[in-house]
Protein backbone atom coordinates (compact mmCIF):
# COMPACT_ATOMS: atom_id res chain seq x y z
CA UNK A 1 0.00 0.00 0.00
CA UNK A 2 1.40 3.38 -0.87
CA UNK A 3 1.49 6.55 1.18
CA UNK A 4 -0.89 8.37 -1.11
CA UNK A 5 -3.66 5.80 -0.77
CA UNK A 6 -3.11 5.75 3.00
CA UNK A 7 -3.62 9.51 3.08
CA UNK A 8 -6.86 9.16 1.14
CA UNK A 9 -8.08 6.48 3.52
CA UNK A 10 -7.04 8.59 6.49
CA UNK A 11 -9.17 11.46 5.24
CA UNK A 12 -12.32 9.31 5.19
CA UNK A 13 -12.45 9.18 8.97
CA UNK A 14 -12.31 12.45 10.88
CA UNK A 15 -12.59 12.72 14.69
CA UNK A 16 -16.32 13.46 14.54
CA UNK A 17 -17.46 12.47 11.05
CA UNK A 18 -17.07 9.60 8.59
CA UNK A 19 -17.23 9.68 4.83
CA UNK A 20 -20.16 7.70 3.45
CA UNK A 21 -17.96 5.73 1.04
CA UNK A 22 -16.74 3.71 4.04
CA UNK A 23 -20.15 2.02 3.87
CA UNK A 24 -20.91 2.10 0.16
CA UNK A 25 -17.68 1.75 -1.84
CA UNK A 26 -16.83 -1.81 -2.80
CA UNK A 27 -13.13 -1.03 -3.29
CA UNK A 28 -12.95 0.16 0.33
CA UNK A 29 -14.76 -3.04 1.34
CA UNK A 30 -12.06 -5.08 -0.44
CA UNK A 31 -9.37 -3.13 1.43
CA UNK A 32 -11.19 -3.77 4.71
CA UNK A 33 -11.17 -7.49 3.97
CA UNK A 34 -7.44 -7.40 3.30
CA UNK A 35 -6.35 -5.05 6.05
CA UNK A 36 -8.89 -5.49 8.87
CA UNK A 37 -10.24 -9.01 8.35
CA UNK A 38 -6.85 -10.09 7.00
CA UNK A 39 -4.98 -8.87 10.09
CA UNK A 40 -7.30 -8.98 13.10
CA UNK A 41 -7.83 -12.13 15.14
CA UNK A 42 -11.07 -13.56 13.79
CA UNK A 43 -13.33 -15.76 15.92
CA UNK A 44 -13.37 -19.23 14.37
CA UNK A 45 -15.30 -21.44 16.77
CA UNK A 46 -15.44 -23.01 20.20
CA UNK A 47 -13.46 -26.05 21.25
CA UNK A 48 -16.62 -27.72 22.59
CA UNK A 49 -17.78 -28.06 18.96
CA UNK A 50 -15.01 -30.55 18.32
CA UNK A 51 -14.58 -32.66 21.47
CA UNK A 52 -13.17 -35.80 19.77
CA UNK A 53 -10.18 -36.48 17.55
CA UNK A 54 -11.20 -35.94 13.91
CA UNK A 55 -14.11 -33.65 14.82
CA UNK A 56 -14.17 -30.59 12.59
CA UNK A 57 -16.02 -27.33 12.00
CA UNK A 58 -15.77 -25.20 8.87
CA UNK A 59 -16.32 -21.48 8.45
CA UNK A 60 -14.99 -18.50 6.52
CA UNK A 61 -12.56 -16.02 7.95
CA UNK A 62 -13.85 -13.26 5.72
CA UNK A 63 -15.88 -13.19 2.52
CA UNK A 64 -13.56 -15.55 0.72
CA UNK A 65 -11.21 -17.53 3.01
CA UNK A 66 -12.61 -21.00 3.76
CA UNK A 67 -11.10 -22.42 6.95
CA UNK A 68 -11.27 -25.70 8.82
CA UNK A 69 -10.99 -26.13 12.59
CA UNK A 70 -10.09 -29.71 13.52
CA UNK A 71 -8.92 -31.64 16.59
CA UNK A 72 -6.01 -34.04 16.06
CA UNK A 73 -5.14 -37.32 17.78
CA UNK A 74 -2.94 -35.51 20.32
CA UNK A 75 -5.91 -33.30 21.28
CA UNK A 76 -4.46 -30.21 19.57
CA UNK A 77 -6.80 -27.91 17.67
CA UNK A 78 -5.66 -26.76 14.25
CA UNK A 79 -7.05 -23.97 12.10
CA UNK A 80 -6.21 -24.76 8.49
CA UNK A 81 -6.98 -23.30 5.10
CA UNK A 82 -9.76 -25.51 3.74
CA UNK A 83 -8.03 -26.03 0.41
CA UNK A 84 -6.35 -29.09 -1.04
CA UNK A 85 -2.64 -28.49 -1.70
CA UNK A 86 -3.05 -30.17 -5.08
CA UNK A 87 -5.69 -28.35 -7.13
CA UNK A 88 -7.33 -26.19 -4.51
CA UNK A 89 -10.61 -28.04 -3.96
CA UNK A 90 -12.13 -27.56 -0.53
CA UNK A 91 -11.18 -30.59 1.54
CA UNK A 92 -14.25 -30.51 3.77
CA UNK A 93 -17.61 -29.36 2.50
CA UNK A 94 -19.84 -30.02 5.52
CA UNK A 95 -20.25 -27.43 8.25
CA UNK A 96 -19.29 -29.91 10.92
CA UNK A 97 -18.75 -33.61 11.47
CA UNK A 98 -16.13 -36.22 12.22
CA UNK A 99 -13.43 -37.60 9.96
CA UNK A 100 -12.22 -41.15 10.50
CA UNK A 101 -8.67 -42.01 9.58
CA UNK A 102 -7.62 -39.09 7.43
CA UNK A 103 -8.89 -36.02 5.61
CA UNK A 104 -9.32 -36.97 1.97
CA UNK A 105 -9.79 -34.72 -1.03
CA UNK A 106 -12.85 -35.70 -3.05
CA UNK A 107 -11.10 -35.01 -6.37
CA UNK A 108 -7.80 -36.97 -6.65
CA UNK A 109 -7.78 -38.61 -3.25
CA UNK A 110 -4.85 -36.83 -1.62
CA UNK A 111 -5.05 -37.58 2.09
CA UNK A 112 -3.96 -35.55 5.10
CA UNK A 113 -3.45 -36.09 8.81
CA UNK A 114 -5.66 -34.07 11.17
CA UNK A 115 -2.80 -31.63 11.74
CA UNK A 116 -2.85 -30.88 8.01
CA UNK A 117 0.34 -32.75 7.11
CA UNK A 118 0.22 -34.73 3.88
CA UNK A 119 -0.35 -38.45 4.39
CA UNK A 120 -0.57 -39.91 0.93
CA UNK A 121 -0.59 -38.89 -2.72
CA UNK A 122 -2.10 -41.64 -4.91
CA UNK A 123 0.05 -43.14 -7.65
CA UNK A 124 3.00 -41.21 -6.35
CA UNK A 125 5.51 -42.61 -8.83
CA UNK A 126 4.14 -40.28 -11.51
CA UNK A 127 5.93 -37.44 -9.72
CA UNK A 128 9.30 -39.21 -9.82
CA UNK A 129 12.04 -37.08 -11.44
CA UNK A 130 9.61 -34.22 -12.13
CA UNK A 131 11.17 -31.87 -9.59
CA UNK A 132 8.09 -32.20 -7.37
CA UNK A 133 8.87 -33.04 -3.74
CA UNK A 134 6.14 -35.40 -2.56
CA UNK A 135 7.26 -34.90 1.06
CA UNK A 136 7.43 -31.09 0.81
CA UNK A 137 5.57 -29.04 3.42
CA UNK A 138 3.90 -27.13 0.59
CA UNK A 139 1.81 -30.29 0.13
CA UNK A 140 0.29 -29.90 3.59
CA UNK A 141 -3.01 -28.22 4.28
CA UNK A 142 -1.63 -24.84 5.23
CA UNK A 143 -2.25 -23.55 8.74
CA UNK A 144 -3.43 -19.99 9.21
CA UNK A 145 -0.59 -17.62 10.11
CA UNK A 146 -1.57 -17.77 13.80
CA UNK A 147 -4.26 -19.53 15.77
CA UNK A 148 -4.88 -19.66 19.50
CA UNK A 149 -7.55 -20.48 22.02
CA UNK A 150 -8.65 -18.58 25.12
CA UNK A 151 -10.97 -20.39 27.53
CA UNK A 152 -12.34 -22.45 24.67
CA UNK A 153 -12.78 -19.58 22.20
CA UNK A 154 -10.67 -20.29 19.12
CA UNK A 155 -9.38 -17.37 17.08
CA UNK A 156 -7.07 -17.23 14.08
CA UNK A 157 -5.48 -14.56 11.95
CA UNK A 158 -4.14 -14.47 8.41
CA UNK A 159 -1.27 -12.23 9.53
CA UNK A 160 1.92 -13.38 11.24
CA UNK A 161 2.68 -9.86 12.47
CA UNK A 162 -0.50 -9.32 14.51
CA UNK A 163 0.30 -9.30 18.26
CA UNK A 164 -0.49 -12.53 20.17
CA UNK A 165 -4.15 -13.21 20.96
CA UNK A 166 -4.04 -12.32 24.68
CA UNK A 167 -2.27 -9.05 23.99
CA UNK A 168 -4.77 -8.26 21.21
CA UNK A 169 -7.75 -9.02 23.46
CA UNK A 170 -6.17 -6.74 26.09
CA UNK A 171 -8.35 -5.55 28.96
CA UNK A 172 -11.47 -6.69 27.10
CA UNK A 173 -10.48 -10.25 27.95
CA UNK A 174 -12.34 -9.75 31.26
CA UNK A 175 -15.62 -10.24 29.39
CA UNK A 176 -14.72 -13.70 28.06
CA UNK A 177 -13.62 -14.46 31.62
CA UNK A 178 -16.94 -13.25 33.01
CA UNK A 179 -18.92 -15.33 30.51
CA UNK A 180 -16.98 -18.47 31.50
CA UNK A 181 -16.90 -17.64 35.21
CA UNK A 182 -20.70 -17.56 35.18
CA UNK A 183 -20.48 -21.35 34.84
CA UNK A 184 -20.16 -23.11 38.19
CA UNK A 185 -17.49 -25.28 36.54
CA UNK A 186 -15.79 -22.27 34.96
CA UNK A 187 -16.35 -23.49 31.40
CA UNK A 188 -18.98 -23.05 28.72
CA UNK A 189 -19.96 -25.30 25.82
CA UNK A 190 -21.83 -24.62 22.63
CA UNK A 191 -25.41 -25.87 22.83
CA UNK A 192 -28.80 -25.39 21.30
CA UNK A 193 -27.94 -24.79 17.67
CA UNK A 194 -27.12 -21.74 15.57
CA UNK A 195 -29.40 -19.15 13.93
CA UNK A 196 -28.21 -17.52 10.73
CA UNK A 197 -29.53 -14.14 9.67
CA UNK A 198 -28.93 -12.56 6.26
CA UNK A 199 -28.20 -8.82 6.50
CA UNK A 200 -28.33 -6.98 3.15
CA UNK A 201 -26.23 -4.04 4.34
CA UNK A 202 -22.69 -3.08 5.35
CA UNK A 203 -21.12 -5.21 8.10
CA UNK A 204 -20.14 -2.23 10.25
CA UNK A 205 -23.73 -1.17 10.94
CA UNK A 206 -24.35 -4.02 13.38
CA UNK A 207 -21.10 -3.34 15.23
CA UNK A 208 -21.98 0.34 15.56
CA UNK A 209 -25.41 -0.59 16.86
CA UNK A 210 -24.13 -2.79 19.71
CA UNK A 211 -23.38 0.06 22.11
CA UNK A 212 -25.61 2.62 20.40
CA UNK A 213 -27.84 3.24 23.37
CA UNK A 214 -29.64 6.16 21.75
CA UNK A 215 -31.60 3.77 19.50
CA UNK A 216 -33.43 1.15 21.61
CA UNK A 217 -36.18 3.46 22.86
CA UNK A 218 -36.83 4.53 19.27
CA UNK A 219 -36.26 1.40 17.18
CA UNK A 220 -37.72 -0.99 19.75
CA UNK A 221 -40.50 1.22 21.09
CA UNK A 222 -43.15 -0.83 19.30
CA UNK A 223 -42.27 -4.19 20.79
CA UNK A 224 -41.80 -2.74 24.27
CA UNK A 225 -45.26 -1.12 24.07
CA UNK A 226 -46.87 -4.18 22.49
CA UNK A 227 -45.47 -6.38 25.25
CA UNK A 228 -46.26 -4.01 28.10
CA UNK A 229 -49.78 -3.26 26.84
CA UNK A 230 -50.65 -6.91 26.57
CA UNK A 231 -48.94 -8.03 29.77
CA UNK A 232 -50.97 -5.38 31.64
CA UNK A 233 -54.18 -7.14 30.65
CA UNK A 234 -53.02 -10.44 32.13
CA UNK A 235 -53.23 -11.56 35.76
CA UNK A 236 -49.84 -11.20 37.42
CA UNK A 237 -49.34 -14.94 37.84
CA UNK A 238 -49.56 -15.39 34.04
CA UNK A 239 -46.25 -13.59 33.48
CA UNK A 240 -44.32 -13.66 36.74
CA UNK A 241 -42.25 -16.68 35.74
CA UNK A 242 -41.81 -15.64 32.13
CA UNK A 243 -38.36 -14.58 31.01
CA UNK A 244 -39.92 -12.62 28.14
CA UNK A 245 -41.43 -10.24 30.67
CA UNK A 246 -37.90 -9.50 31.95
CA UNK A 247 -36.17 -9.44 28.58
CA UNK A 248 -38.36 -7.19 26.41
CA UNK A 249 -39.24 -4.14 28.61
CA UNK A 250 -35.60 -3.03 29.33
CA UNK A 251 -35.21 -2.30 25.61
CA UNK A 252 -37.32 0.73 26.39
CA UNK A 253 -35.04 1.93 29.22
CA UNK A 254 -34.48 5.68 29.55
CA UNK A 255 -31.56 7.75 28.28
CA UNK A 256 -30.48 8.19 31.91
CA UNK A 257 -30.39 4.44 32.48
CA UNK A 258 -28.30 3.87 29.40
CA UNK A 259 -26.04 6.86 30.16
CA UNK A 260 -25.32 5.41 33.60
CA UNK A 261 -24.29 2.06 32.13
CA UNK A 262 -21.21 3.68 30.54
CA UNK A 263 -19.07 2.54 27.64
CA UNK A 264 -15.52 1.21 27.93
CA UNK A 265 -13.15 1.10 24.96
CA UNK A 266 -9.87 -0.74 24.38
CA UNK A 267 -7.10 -0.85 21.76
CA UNK A 268 -7.83 -2.77 18.52
CA UNK A 269 -11.45 -1.57 18.47
CA UNK A 270 -12.92 -3.65 21.32
CA UNK A 271 -15.51 -2.12 23.63
CA UNK A 272 -18.53 -2.83 25.80
CA UNK A 273 -21.38 -0.99 27.42
CA UNK A 274 -22.52 -1.73 30.93
CA UNK A 275 -20.29 -3.19 33.61
CA UNK A 276 -21.73 -2.00 36.88
CA UNK A 277 -25.19 -2.29 35.39
CA UNK A 278 -26.91 -3.04 32.09
CA UNK A 279 -30.33 -3.86 30.65
CA UNK A 280 -29.65 -7.47 31.68
CA UNK A 281 -28.88 -6.60 35.31
CA UNK A 282 -32.35 -7.22 36.76
CA UNK A 283 -32.90 -10.72 35.44
CA UNK A 284 -34.02 -13.33 37.94
CA UNK A 285 -31.21 -15.32 39.51
CA UNK A 286 -32.63 -18.84 39.46
CA UNK A 287 -32.29 -20.40 42.94
CA UNK A 288 -30.78 -23.69 41.69
CA UNK A 289 -28.21 -21.75 39.66
CA UNK A 290 -27.37 -19.51 42.58
CA UNK A 291 -26.84 -22.53 44.78
CA UNK A 292 -24.49 -24.13 42.24
CA UNK A 293 -22.53 -20.87 41.98
CA UNK A 294 -22.28 -20.47 45.76
CA UNK A 295 -20.99 -24.01 46.09
CA UNK A 296 -18.43 -23.49 43.37
CA UNK A 297 -17.19 -20.00 44.27
CA UNK A 298 -18.46 -18.97 47.69
CA UNK A 299 -20.53 -15.87 48.35
CA UNK A 300 -18.01 -13.10 47.74
CA UNK A 301 -16.72 -14.39 44.40
CA UNK A 302 -20.26 -15.25 43.24
CA UNK A 303 -21.43 -11.68 43.93
CA UNK A 304 -18.38 -10.36 42.16
CA UNK A 305 -19.13 -12.45 39.05
CA UNK A 306 -22.80 -11.36 38.97
CA UNK A 307 -21.92 -7.71 39.58
CA UNK A 308 -19.95 -7.38 36.35
CA UNK A 309 -22.93 -6.98 34.07
CA UNK A 310 -22.19 -5.93 30.52
CA UNK A 311 -24.70 -5.50 27.70
CA UNK A 312 -22.88 -6.04 24.40
CA UNK A 313 -19.15 -6.70 24.15
CA UNK A 314 -17.41 -6.32 20.80
CA UNK A 315 -14.18 -8.05 19.85
CA UNK A 316 -13.64 -6.04 16.71
CA UNK A 317 -14.49 -7.00 14.02
CA UNK A 318 -15.92 -10.53 14.10
CA UNK A 319 -17.38 -11.38 17.51
CA UNK A 320 -19.86 -9.88 19.92
CA UNK A 321 -20.77 -11.58 23.18
CA UNK A 322 -23.40 -11.24 25.90
CA UNK A 323 -21.89 -12.47 29.16
CA UNK A 324 -25.11 -12.25 31.17
CA UNK A 325 -27.12 -14.10 28.51
CA UNK A 326 -24.42 -16.55 27.39
CA UNK A 327 -24.91 -16.02 23.73
CA UNK A 328 -22.63 -14.65 21.07
CA UNK A 329 -23.06 -13.32 17.57
CA UNK A 330 -20.53 -14.04 14.86
CA UNK A 331 -20.19 -11.61 11.95
CA UNK A 332 -19.20 -12.69 8.44
CA UNK A 333 -19.03 -10.08 5.65
CA UNK A 334 -19.99 -11.08 2.11
CA UNK A 335 -19.86 -7.83 0.14
CA UNK A 336 -20.01 -4.09 0.76
CA UNK A 337 -23.77 -4.35 1.25
CA UNK A 338 -24.24 -7.85 2.65
CA UNK A 339 -23.17 -9.87 5.67
CA UNK A 340 -24.43 -12.79 7.74
CA UNK A 341 -24.86 -12.85 11.52
CA UNK A 342 -24.86 -16.12 13.40
CA UNK A 343 -26.33 -16.39 16.91
CA UNK A 344 -24.74 -19.09 19.05
CA UNK A 345 -25.87 -20.18 22.50
CA UNK A 346 -23.74 -21.54 25.31
CA UNK A 347 -24.43 -23.87 28.20
CA UNK A 348 -22.82 -22.95 31.50
CA UNK A 349 -21.23 -26.19 32.69
CA UNK A 350 -22.59 -27.16 36.06
CA UNK A 351 -25.64 -24.87 35.78
CA UNK A 352 -29.27 -26.07 35.74
CA UNK A 353 -31.06 -26.45 32.40
CA UNK A 354 -33.15 -23.32 32.87
CA UNK A 355 -30.05 -21.20 32.21
CA UNK A 356 -29.60 -22.62 28.69
CA UNK A 357 -33.35 -22.35 28.16
CA UNK A 358 -33.22 -18.61 28.88
CA UNK A 359 -30.24 -18.22 26.53
CA UNK A 360 -32.10 -20.01 23.75
CA UNK A 361 -35.28 -18.04 24.43
CA UNK A 362 -33.32 -14.79 24.24
CA UNK A 363 -31.77 -15.76 20.90
CA UNK A 364 -35.10 -16.59 19.26
CA UNK A 365 -36.91 -13.63 20.79
CA UNK A 366 -34.28 -10.99 20.07
CA UNK A 367 -31.76 -12.20 17.49
CA UNK A 368 -33.90 -14.33 15.17
CA UNK A 369 -34.71 -13.06 11.69
CA UNK A 370 -38.30 -13.64 12.82
CA UNK A 371 -37.72 -12.10 16.25
CA UNK A 372 -39.11 -9.09 18.03
CA UNK A 373 -35.96 -6.95 17.89
CA UNK A 374 -33.61 -8.10 15.12
CA UNK A 375 -35.83 -7.16 12.15
CA UNK A 376 -36.30 -3.60 13.46
CA UNK A 377 -32.53 -3.18 13.85
CA UNK A 378 -31.92 -4.55 10.36
CA UNK A 379 -34.58 -2.22 8.98
CA UNK A 380 -32.63 0.86 10.14
CA UNK A 381 -29.35 -0.55 8.85
CA UNK A 382 -30.98 -1.01 5.44
CA UNK A 383 -32.37 2.51 5.52
CA UNK A 384 -28.83 3.78 6.13
CA UNK A 385 -27.48 1.66 3.27
CA UNK A 386 -30.19 3.04 0.99
CA UNK A 387 -29.95 6.60 2.35
CA UNK A 388 -26.19 6.94 2.17
CA UNK A 389 -26.15 6.85 -1.63
CA UNK A 390 -27.99 10.18 -1.46
CA UNK A 391 -26.05 13.14 -2.80
CA UNK A 392 -27.55 15.22 0.01
CA UNK A 393 -24.37 14.84 2.04
CA UNK A 394 -21.13 12.87 1.90
CA UNK A 395 -20.74 12.53 5.66
CA UNK A 396 -22.25 10.99 8.77
CA UNK A 397 -21.52 12.46 12.20
CA UNK A 398 -20.52 10.96 15.55
CA UNK A 399 -20.00 13.87 17.93
CA UNK A 400 -21.79 12.65 21.05
CA UNK A 401 -19.71 13.54 24.13
CA UNK A 402 -16.66 14.19 21.96
CA UNK A 403 -13.78 15.40 24.12
CA UNK A 404 -15.21 13.90 27.31
CA UNK A 405 -13.75 10.37 27.11
CA UNK A 406 -11.33 9.57 29.94
CA UNK A 407 -8.26 7.39 29.71
CA UNK A 408 -7.99 4.97 32.59
CA UNK A 409 -4.98 2.68 32.37
CA UNK A 410 -5.50 0.21 29.53
CA UNK A 411 -8.93 1.58 28.64
CA UNK A 412 -11.01 4.63 27.77
CA UNK A 413 -14.27 5.20 29.63
CA UNK A 414 -17.19 7.46 28.87
CA UNK A 415 -20.91 7.99 29.08
CA UNK A 416 -23.27 5.23 28.02
CA UNK A 417 -24.98 7.44 25.44
CA UNK A 418 -21.68 8.72 24.03
CA UNK A 419 -20.11 7.83 20.68
CA UNK A 420 -17.08 6.40 22.47
CA UNK A 421 -17.80 3.06 20.80
CA UNK A 422 -17.60 4.70 17.36
CA UNK A 423 -14.38 6.49 18.28
CA UNK A 424 -12.95 3.17 19.50
CA UNK A 425 -13.96 1.28 16.36
CA UNK A 426 -12.86 3.91 13.90
CA UNK A 427 -9.56 4.47 15.70
CA UNK A 428 -8.86 0.78 15.09
CA UNK A 429 -10.28 0.99 11.56
CA UNK A 430 -7.76 3.69 10.71
CA UNK A 431 -4.86 1.81 12.26
CA UNK A 432 -5.67 -1.40 10.40
CA UNK A 433 -6.42 0.37 7.14
CA UNK A 434 -3.29 2.53 7.08
CA UNK A 435 -0.80 -0.03 8.34
CA UNK A 436 -0.33 1.37 11.87
CA UNK A 437 -1.09 -1.86 13.68
Amino acid sequence: MDAKSNKLIDELVEPTRIHKSVYTDSSIFELEMERIWGQAWIFIGHESQIPESGDFFTTNINHREPVLMIRDKEDCIHVLHNRCAHKGAKIVEERNGNVRGALRCGYHGWTYNFDGSILNIPNEEGYKDTGFDVKGSCNNLQPLAQSDCYRGFVFATLSSSTPPLKEWLGGAIECIDNLCDRAPEGEVELAGGILRYDHPCNWKFILENLNDTMHPMVVHQSIVQAAEDYIKTLPEEATEHRSEAEIIPPFGASYTNFENSGITGFPFGHHYDGGKTSIHADYTVFPAYHEAMMQAYGEERTREIYSFNTHNVLYYPSLTIKCAIQNIRVIRPISVDRFVVESWSFRLKGAPEEMLQRTVLYSRLINSSMGMVGPDDLEVYRRMQEGLVSSGSDWIEYHRQYGRDKELGDRVVGGGTSDLDMRTQFGAWKNYMTGNL
Binding site: R196, E353, M370
Partner: protein
Protein backbone atom coordinates in the same frame (compact mmCIF):
# COMPACT_ATOMS: atom_id res chain seq x y z
CA UNK B 1 -58.86 -41.06 12.97
CA UNK B 2 -60.93 -42.09 9.99
CA UNK B 3 -63.85 -40.29 11.66
CA UNK B 4 -62.39 -37.05 10.36
CA UNK B 5 -62.74 -36.82 6.69
CA UNK B 6 -60.03 -35.29 4.61
CA UNK B 7 -62.28 -32.65 3.10
CA UNK B 8 -63.17 -31.28 6.51
CA UNK B 9 -59.50 -31.02 7.51
CA UNK B 10 -58.54 -29.51 4.17
CA UNK B 11 -61.18 -26.83 4.55
CA UNK B 12 -59.85 -25.99 7.98
CA UNK B 13 -56.24 -25.66 6.79
CA UNK B 14 -57.40 -23.47 3.91
CA UNK B 15 -59.35 -21.29 6.32
CA UNK B 16 -56.31 -20.99 8.57
CA UNK B 17 -54.02 -19.96 5.74
CA UNK B 18 -56.60 -17.50 4.42
CA UNK B 19 -56.51 -15.70 7.78
CA UNK B 20 -52.75 -15.34 7.33
CA UNK B 21 -53.11 -14.14 3.74
CA UNK B 22 -55.81 -11.55 4.42
CA UNK B 23 -54.36 -10.97 7.08
CA UNK B 24 -56.77 -11.35 9.97
CA UNK B 25 -54.56 -12.25 12.90
CA UNK B 26 -57.35 -11.83 15.47
CA UNK B 27 -59.20 -14.72 13.90
CA UNK B 28 -55.99 -16.64 13.27
CA UNK B 29 -54.84 -16.49 16.91
CA UNK B 30 -58.34 -17.56 17.95
CA UNK B 31 -57.89 -20.81 16.03
CA UNK B 32 -55.36 -21.94 18.64
CA UNK B 33 -56.24 -23.73 21.85
CA UNK B 34 -55.41 -21.90 25.08
CA UNK B 35 -52.18 -23.94 25.29
CA UNK B 36 -51.62 -23.73 21.51
CA UNK B 37 -48.14 -23.14 20.05
CA UNK B 38 -46.69 -21.92 16.77
CA UNK B 39 -43.25 -23.39 16.20
CA UNK B 40 -40.72 -22.86 13.45
CA UNK B 41 -37.64 -24.93 14.37
CA UNK B 42 -34.12 -23.90 13.37
CA UNK B 43 -33.13 -27.45 12.54
CA UNK B 44 -34.93 -30.15 10.58
CA UNK B 45 -34.44 -32.84 13.18
CA UNK B 46 -35.18 -30.60 16.15
CA UNK B 47 -37.15 -32.35 18.87
CA UNK B 48 -36.97 -29.73 21.56
CA UNK B 49 -38.18 -26.11 21.45
CA UNK B 50 -36.77 -25.22 24.89
CA UNK B 51 -33.16 -26.39 24.89
CA UNK B 52 -32.54 -25.70 21.20
CA UNK B 53 -33.00 -22.38 19.46
CA UNK B 54 -35.93 -21.90 17.06
CA UNK B 55 -36.83 -19.19 14.58
CA UNK B 56 -40.15 -18.84 16.38
CA UNK B 57 -41.74 -20.66 19.30
CA UNK B 58 -44.81 -18.69 20.36
CA UNK B 59 -47.55 -19.52 22.78
CA UNK B 60 -50.78 -17.51 22.89
CA UNK B 61 -49.17 -14.75 24.95
CA UNK B 62 -46.36 -14.26 22.46
CA UNK B 63 -48.81 -14.44 19.55
CA UNK B 64 -50.81 -11.64 21.13
CA UNK B 65 -47.67 -9.54 21.64
CA UNK B 66 -46.39 -10.21 18.14
CA UNK B 67 -49.81 -9.42 16.66
CA UNK B 68 -49.79 -6.02 18.41
CA UNK B 69 -46.24 -5.35 17.26
CA UNK B 70 -47.09 -6.21 13.62
CA UNK B 71 -49.58 -3.34 13.48
CA UNK B 72 -47.72 -0.84 15.68
CA UNK B 73 -47.04 2.37 13.70
CA UNK B 74 -43.53 2.68 15.16
CA UNK B 75 -42.37 -0.80 14.18
CA UNK B 76 -40.12 0.23 11.33
CA UNK B 77 -39.65 -3.23 9.88
CA UNK B 78 -43.42 -3.43 9.42
CA UNK B 79 -43.73 -0.05 7.67
CA UNK B 80 -43.67 -1.87 4.35
CA UNK B 81 -46.49 -3.25 2.33
CA UNK B 82 -46.39 -6.96 3.12
CA UNK B 83 -48.56 -9.56 1.46
CA UNK B 84 -48.44 -13.31 1.42
CA UNK B 85 -49.97 -16.15 -0.52
CA UNK B 86 -50.18 -19.65 0.91
CA UNK B 87 -50.59 -22.86 -1.06
CA UNK B 88 -51.28 -25.97 1.00
CA UNK B 89 -51.07 -29.47 -0.46
CA UNK B 90 -50.19 -33.13 0.10
CA UNK B 91 -52.42 -33.16 3.16
CA UNK B 92 -52.26 -36.36 5.17
CA UNK B 93 -54.10 -37.35 8.32
CA UNK B 94 -51.99 -39.45 10.69
CA UNK B 95 -52.85 -41.07 13.96
CA UNK B 96 -52.28 -38.65 16.83
CA UNK B 97 -50.26 -39.34 19.97
CA UNK B 98 -53.32 -38.74 22.12
CA UNK B 99 -56.77 -40.12 21.33
CA UNK B 100 -58.38 -36.70 21.06
CA UNK B 101 -55.69 -35.30 18.77
CA UNK B 102 -55.70 -35.26 15.01
CA UNK B 103 -52.24 -35.15 13.53
CA UNK B 104 -52.15 -33.58 10.06
CA UNK B 105 -49.11 -33.11 7.85
CA UNK B 106 -49.04 -30.97 4.75
CA UNK B 107 -46.69 -29.23 2.36
CA UNK B 108 -46.81 -25.46 2.36
CA UNK B 109 -45.44 -22.99 -0.15
CA UNK B 110 -45.67 -19.33 0.76
CA UNK B 111 -44.71 -16.35 -1.34
CA UNK B 112 -44.15 -13.22 0.71
CA UNK B 113 -43.99 -9.75 -0.81
CA UNK B 114 -41.90 -7.63 1.53
CA UNK B 115 -39.60 -4.66 1.02
CA UNK B 116 -40.14 -4.67 -2.74
CA UNK B 117 -39.00 -8.26 -3.00
CA UNK B 118 -40.67 -11.66 -3.36
CA UNK B 119 -39.44 -14.27 -0.94
CA UNK B 120 -40.26 -17.95 -1.31
CA UNK B 121 -40.70 -20.27 1.66
CA UNK B 122 -41.24 -24.00 1.37
CA UNK B 123 -42.07 -26.07 4.41
CA UNK B 124 -43.45 -29.31 5.72
CA UNK B 125 -46.17 -28.48 8.24
CA UNK B 126 -47.50 -30.47 11.11
CA UNK B 127 -50.79 -29.50 12.71
CA UNK B 128 -52.01 -31.08 15.88
CA UNK B 129 -55.74 -30.39 15.94
CA UNK B 130 -58.43 -30.90 18.51
CA UNK B 131 -62.14 -30.80 17.95
CA UNK B 132 -63.83 -28.55 20.48
CA UNK B 133 -67.56 -27.82 20.25
CA UNK B 134 -67.66 -29.10 16.68
CA UNK B 135 -64.82 -26.77 15.67
CA UNK B 136 -61.19 -27.55 15.03
CA UNK B 137 -58.60 -25.89 17.24
CA UNK B 138 -54.84 -25.91 16.73
CA UNK B 139 -52.76 -27.24 19.61
CA UNK B 140 -49.54 -27.06 17.58
CA UNK B 141 -48.56 -25.73 14.20
CA UNK B 142 -45.02 -26.80 13.44
CA UNK B 143 -43.45 -25.29 10.31
CA UNK B 144 -40.32 -27.10 9.17
CA UNK B 145 -38.70 -24.96 6.51
CA UNK B 146 -36.75 -26.96 3.94
CA UNK B 147 -33.77 -24.68 4.70
CA UNK B 148 -33.99 -23.88 8.41
CA UNK B 149 -30.20 -23.68 8.81
CA UNK B 150 -29.72 -21.20 5.94
CA UNK B 151 -29.23 -17.49 6.62
CA UNK B 152 -32.82 -16.23 6.74
CA UNK B 153 -34.13 -12.86 5.66
CA UNK B 154 -36.26 -10.77 8.00
CA UNK B 155 -39.72 -12.28 8.21
CA UNK B 156 -42.45 -10.12 9.70
CA UNK B 157 -45.46 -12.38 9.16
CA UNK B 158 -46.43 -15.83 10.38
CA UNK B 159 -46.17 -18.49 7.65
Amino acid sequence: MSAHNLQEIESFLYLESSYLDQPDLDKWVDLFTEDGKYWMPASETQKDPLNHVSHIYDDRVMMEIRRRNFVHPRSSSKNHLTRCSHIIGNIQINSGENVDEINVTSNMHVIVWYREEQQIYAARCKHILLKQEEKFKIRLKRVDLINPEAPQKSLVVYL
